[in-house]
């Protein structure tokens, strides 16, 4: 068995093995192996290529961009996604605009340990995919499975564009698979995680598992819910979503991030503009509440969508 976190470690290990241009840079990622142990053992195996950084997110990102321009393939670990905002300027103004302005690509991968876990509070729980997706020039990946944690990270490192890799902390230890995949869907392709004909749930990252549990619950009443795992937020696989809605006529988009201007809004906007006549009911979405992420587990459990609230939303959607 291999966990989601181990898959991330294995992908980095493989990248270091196969590509001499790859190096890892981040706080406490060397001998210590990182705050979550995503780089455990790698500094020992690859001397000089897994490097502890000072607590300087702006300089971490800026130096990654510089090294990428000189032909390296930096993989940056932010200790938590939340701290990446300190390096935001370099990511969205420098890395994201480089190719468009100069024709030179900027192959960096930024790993963002994202998402809520009980007791993590406002500054260790954020989901920033929509924030980064807003800026042209970045690829945003949100693996929901062990297999994708591995294959998408390897692909991210191989891509010539800057990639924001949103890995979900809630899945780190919980989620296990039998083995690492040999083949995988490419970046930009969504996956149908469960087939159904009555309604489509479009989701990504940790919410996939809540959505699958909700679909299971509704199956007891005979409802067949299709669940789509986006895998990649940008590019967004609109075709797979539209094709599913063409079959089901109903859509619920679910995300753990805040609602305003987020991924669920984008999905529904595309359905409304390109697939309006496919719909048998108004499109719906479910997100975390529009407040910072609360500390207390009671509040946190209500702040974000869960299998229960997704199932309730689906019942509403099916009644419409």
């Amino acid at each position: 068995m291999i966990t989601y976190l181990e898959a991330i470690r294995e992908a980095q290990k493989k990248a270091l093995e196969i590509d001499p241009r790859v190096y890892l840079y981040g706080q406490d990622i060397g001998a210590f192996g990182g705050a979550f142990k995503a780089t455990k053992g790698l500094a020992q195996t690859f001397p000089g290529r897994v490097i502890d950084s000072p607590i300087s997110e702006d300089a971490m990102m800026g130096s990654a961009i510089g090294a990428a321009l000189q032909g390296m393939r930096p993989v940056i670990e932010m200790q938590f996604a939340d701290f990446s905002t300190v390096g935001f300027n370099q990511i969205v103004n420098q890395a994201a605009t480089m190719f468009w302005r100069t024709g030179e690509s900027c192959p960096i991968t930024v790993r963002l340990p994202s998402g809520g876990t009980p007791g993590s509070g406002p500054f260790h729980s954020q989901n920033l995919e929509a924030l980064y997706a807003h800026y042209p020039g970045l690829i945003i990946l949100t693996p929901a499975t062990v297999e994708d944690a591995y294959s998408l990270l390897l692909e991210a490192i191989a891509l010539d564009d800057p990639v924001i890799f949103c890995e979900h902390k809630y899945l780190y230890y919980h989620l296990k698979a039998e083995s690492l995949p040999e083949t995988a869907l490419p970046v930009g392709k969504a996956r149908i995680a469960r087939t159904g004909r009555d309604a489509t749930v479009v989701t990504y990252s940790a919410m996939l598992h809540e959505a699958l549990a909700a679909a299971e619950e509704l199956a007891e009443n005979g409802w067949e819910i299709e669940v789509i795992d986006l895998r990649s937020i940008k590019p967004l696989d609109t075709d797979t979503v539209l094709a599913s809605v063409a079959r089901t006529g109903r859509i619920l988009a679910v995300g753990e991030a805040w609602p305003w201007g987020g991924v669920t809004a984008e999905v529904l906007a595309r359905i409304a503009t390109d697939g309006f006549n496919l719909l048998d009911a108004p499109p719906m979405r479910l997100n975390s509440k529009d407040t910072p992420v609360p500390f207390h587990p009671n509040l946190w459990g209500t702040h974000r969508p869960t299998a229960r609230t997704i199932a309730n939303a689906l019942r509403d959607l099916l009644r419409l």
Partner: protein
Amino acid sequence: MLHLAEAPIRAGKASDFPETYRRAFRWMLLARVAEEKIASLFRGGRITGGVFLGKGQEAISVATGIALKEGDIFAPLIRDQAGRLAFGESLLDFTLTYLGARSGPMRGRDGNVHRGRPREGLLPMISHLGAMVSVVNGMLLAHRFQGKKGTVGAASLGDGATSTGAFHESINQAAVEKLPLILVVTNNQYAYSTPNERQFACSDLVDKALGYGVNGHTVDGTDLESCLQIIGGAVQLAREGNGPQLIVASNLRLAGHGEHDDSHYISSHFKELPLGRDCIEVAQNHLLGKGWADASALEVWTRECAVQVDEAVAHALREPAPDPAQEEWCALSHRHLAEGNSAKF
């Protein structure tokens, strides 16, 4: 200032010094006992989220808290339990926040060390290191606009936080504006697992003061007497209009980064150096050596701390947890302008 069980006394007139020292020591002791209690609750599964201790940092922290007075600003960080108490934060704010109680200052919305009461000059830290310093600057600027005189603001940082852009920007800003900022950098040799040599290349962090054009002071962070004197002196300088003061204290973190961390990476070499001493033990010996307290007084104080802590914990455990159904899911003070929760998101 917040309610105090006893009014804090300030490091000041030489004649009060033994009394100041005793008071400071008792806040240190209370912080230590309180944190040990929270750590044991954490181990027992009663606390969700992180637990961060100031073990080994009580002397420098308390010296900061005790040097401040009503109207001053304090932006503590994760290892400042002693300083918070000395500044006037109640022990209940500590226990209620760790337990996420609805009646605590953060109402279960934020937890552990992320607490404060801005109105009372106690800033609630965000996690992003270095971010609090310019906020203190702003409060001091406001005092200037408002004609408030003689106040100062203190912010705590670790050695690691000096690598942030926020540190550079805010100390430079304070220097340009000649603000009465006291920046207390506690160099405990590590930032999480990262040792000083991977964090900065100057031989002493205090050398940075010169570059920014501010006064620099160094102090042995394990020695309460020096901490009281150096911080007290720096605060006085700032109060008298001499601009920002950078203080660099050296010590060793005597706990994990958080209670989840066994801190195996801390080199045993440091543990043998004077900076590896436990400031509470040092202070205790000093009290006895100087005859400022005897063994039975120490025993009484320790017992009193345990009682206070037990009461504060018992109280917090009785308090109701936040109820999501009653929670106002609204991040704006203008409720009518908040949209998220009525709209069908």
